[in-house]
C-alpha cells in the first residue's frame, strides 16, 4: 500500500484537468446560493455527501476489481488483464451513468476521467488502463489509478471524496476572491465528514454481498439543476 500514491491522486497539482471544473459552485454563486464561507461550507457538505459519496463508492469498487484480478502497483511488463476486468469496469461505468442522470455532470465526469487516464497511464503504467473505455467516468478511472499506483480501495474512496470537496472549494475561492486561508480552514473542518463518507462508501464497495446496487447512489437534484443551467451558459469560467 502506498501512502504517497494517495497523496498524488488527491493533489490538485496532478494535471488531469480538474482545475477547469467547479463542481457546480460557479452556478451556485451565480444563483446567489454561495456567497461567503458559510454558504460555501454548506455547498461543500452537500457535494461531499452526494457526488462525493457516489464517486467514492465507484472508485473503491474499481480499485478492488483491478486489485483482485492482477494486483495493484507495479505489474510485470507484458502482464495482461483478463477480459473480466474490462467487463467489470464497464459495469461500474454504467452504474456511474445511472447515478449521474444529468448530461452536464456526466460530460464533466467523463472529461475528467479522460484527463486522468491520460496522466495516469504515463505516471503509473499498468495493463488495467487498457481495460477502461476511452472516456471513463472520473471515479472509475480514479479507482484504476489507485490500483495502478499501489493504493487500496479505501484510499481510492478517500481521494474521490476529497476531490469532490477540494475542486469546488478552489473554484469558489477564485470566483469570490475569498481568503484562501479561510477556505483552507473550511475544508480542514469538513475533513471528518470526508473521512466518514469515504469510509462508508469503501465499506459498501467491499460488502460481503458486493452487489453493485449497494454502492452509494445519493442524488442531489439541486446540483443536477445547477449543472444543467451552467452548461447552457456561454459566459462562464469553468467547464462545469
Amino acid at each position: 500500500m502506498s501512502l504517497t500514491a494517495l497523496l498524488a491522486l488527491a493533489d490538485s497539482r496532478l494535471p488531469a484537468g480538474g482545475h477547469a471544473h467547479s463542481g457546480g459552485v460557479e452556478q451556485a454563486i451565480s444563483a446567489g446560493l454561495v456567497t461567503d464561507p458559510v454558504s460555501l461550507a454548506g455547498f461543500l457538505r452537500r457535494r461531499v455527501g452526494t457526488a462525493g459519496s457516489v464517486a467514492a463508492g465507484l472508485a473503491a469498487a474499481a480499485c478492488a476489481v483491478v486489485g483482485r484480478a492482477v494486483g495493484g502497483g507495479a505489474v510485470a511488463a507484458g502482464a495482461a488483464v483478463p477480459p473480466s476486468v474490462a467487463a467489470a469496469l464497464a459495469d461500474l461505468d454504467a452504474e456511474a451513468d445511472a447515478r449521474t442522470p444529468s448530461p452536464a455532470q456526466r460530460a464533466a465526469s467523463r472529461q475528467q476521467g479522460r484527463g486522468l487516464l491520460r496522466v495516469g497511464r504515463r505516471a503509473w503504467p499498468h495493463p488495467a488502463w487498457d481495460a477502461l473505455p476511452t472516456q471513463p467516468h472520473h471515479a472509475v478511472a480514479l479507482g484504476v489509478a489507485a490500483a495502478a499506483a499501489g493504493a487500496r480501495p479505501a484510499d481510492a474512496a478517500a481521494a474521490a471524496a476529497y476531490l469532490s470537496m477540494s475542486g469546488p472549494a478552489t473554484a469558489a475561492q477564485r470566483l469570490l476572491a475569498l481568503d484562501p486561508i479561510t477556505v483552507a480552514a473550511v475544508t480542514a473542518r469538513l475533513s471528518p465528514l470526508v473521512d466518514e463518507v469515504a469510509g462508508a462508501a469503501a465499506r459498501a464497495a467491499a460488502g460481503p454481498f458486493g452487489g453493485l446496487d449497494l454502492l452509494p447512489a445519493s442524488a442531489d437534484p439541486l446540483l443536477d439543476l445547477l449543472a444543467e443551467l451552467h452548461v447552457s451558459r456561454k459566459d462562464r469560467f469553468f467547464a462545469s
Partner: protein, 230 residues
C-alpha cells in the same frame, strides 16, 4: 562520477514532439499563440486562418478567460467553419490551462485532430494573460508571443518567459508607434538582446491584414515538422 543510468527509469519515455497521428504520419504542427490582453492574438489567428486556410488544413483552439468570444469572433468572421474551432474553459486561470494542466487543451486538440484527419496545423490561442505566461511544450510544438507597441517600448527589455523564450516574438501595431511615442528601433534592439538567435517580427495587422511575415514563419515551421518526421 559515472553517469547514473538508473535515472532513466524515473522518466516516462513519451516525447510530445515524436507523437504520431492515427495514420502513422507526423500529424499536425501545434502552434501556441500567447500574449497580453489586447495585443492582437485573435486578430493574428484570424489573419493566419485567412492567409493559410487555402493552402493548409488547419483548426483552432481558443482559451477565453470568461466567454467564447474569441471563438465566436472567428466564427462570425467566417474565417473558419464552426467544426474547426473549439473553445475551452480555463477555470479563471488561463495560464494554468496552457502551462500547468494542459488537459482541456489537449482534449480539444485531439478532438479536432480526430474530427479532421490529415489536419496540418493546430493554432492554440491562449486567453489574454501577463508577460509571464508561456505554453507547455507538452501542448504545443512552437509558440508565438504577441505584444503590441501600445503596451510601451519597454516591454521587450523587461522580458519575461513569453518575450524571451517564445519561438517567435511578434510586436504588433507598429502603425501606432508615432502616437504612443514608442521607438521601434529600441524594441527591435531590446528584443534581439534578450532573445539571442530567436526571431522577432514587427508587424501591423492594420497595414498588412494578411500577416504575411508571420504566416511565412508558420509555413516554414509546418514544412520543417513534416520534414523532420518524414
Amino acid at each position: 562520477m559515472p553517469p547514473d543510468h538508473d535515472l532513466d527509469d524515473y522518466v516516462d519515455p513519451y516525447d510530445p514532439g515524436q507523437r504520431r497521428a492515427p495514420d502513422g504520419g507526423p500529424g499536425a504542427l501545434r502552434v501556441g499563440i500567447g500574449g497580453p490582453v489586447g495585443s492582437g492574438k485573435t486578430a493574428l489567428v484570424a489573419a493566419l486562418c485567412r492567409t493559410l486556410g487555402e493552402e493548409l488544413d488547419l483548426v483552432v483552439v481558443t482559451n477565453d478567460i470568461y466567454t467564447t468570444e474569441d471563438a465566436d469572433f472567428l466564427r462570425r468572421n467566417a474565417v473558419l467553419p464552426d467544426d474547426r474551432i473549439e473553445a475551452v474553459q480555463t477555470g479563471c486561470c488561463p495560464h494554468t490551462a496552457i502551462r500547468d494542466d494542459i488537459t482541456a487543451n489537449l482534449d480539444a486538440v485531439e478532438l479536432l485532430e480526430a474530427r479532421h484527419p490529415g489536419v496540418q496545423l493546430v493554432l492554440v490561442e491562449s486567453g489574454g494573460d501577463n508577460l509571464t505566461a508561456s505554453f507547455s511544450y507538452g501542448l504545443v510544438d512552437v509558440q508565438v508571443f504577441v505584444v503590441d507597441v501600445a503596451g510601451g517600448d519597454k516591454v521587450p527589455r523587461k522580458g519575461g518567459p513569453g518575450v524571451t523564450s517564445a519561438d517567435l516574438l511578434v510586436v504588433n501595431k507598429t502603425d501606432l508607434a508615432p502616437f504612443v511615442g514608442a521607438d521601434l528601433d529600441v524594441m527591435r534592439r531590446d528584443s534581439d538582446a534578450v532573445r539571442g538567435e530567436k526571431p522577432t517580427l514587427l508587424i501591423s495587422l492594420r497595414e498588412d491584414p494578411a500577416a504575411t511575415d508571420v504566416a511565412a514563419w508558420v509555413r516554414a515551421q509546418v514544412r520543417s515538422r513534416a520534414l523532420q518526421s518524414a
